[in-house]
Symmetry: C2
């Protein structure tokens, strides 16, 4: 498996490790997402910024974060921090 | 840097290595995207499927693939293959 595919599979695995099963889909709740970002981006982001990010993101209204929303959030934070 | 963040940074780097600079944004064109998927998912996907995937994806109409579209495409293919 290429380094690229290994990276893709790591991200999918990490999502499923943290997300709770919700019917046929896994989802993050907002609190868990905040904790996750704080842990992963601890050295590059302050808590108030995380709150702003979570507020700005247009969730699909259910207050929970599905895989696509997780992806876009994580990569947006990563690009902002690095 | 955590394994998770390392994976995120690998994906961002690979995108920028392959995408051409287009003003202030980098983009993939359709041909390059097809080649990229063929290379990365060679052992798990046939060419006709790649064409279908590229057709189904709702590009924003400019025929080019920006970073978010690249993300969603790659993870959709990865989840379908593995």
């Amino acid at each position: 498996m290429s380094h690229f595919l290994d990276s893709v599979s790591t991200i999918i695995t990490v999502f499923h490790q943290h997300a709770k099963e919700d019917g046929d889909q896994s989802k993050f709740n907002r609190r868990k997402m905040k904790e996750f970002i704080q842990k992963e981006f601890a050295d590059a982001i302050v808590v108030s910024t995380i709150d702003k990010i979570l507020q700005f993101l247009e969730w699909d209204g259910d207050g929970e974060i599905d895989f696509n929303e997780f992806l876009l959030l994580v990569f947006r934070v990563a690009k902002a921090c690095y």
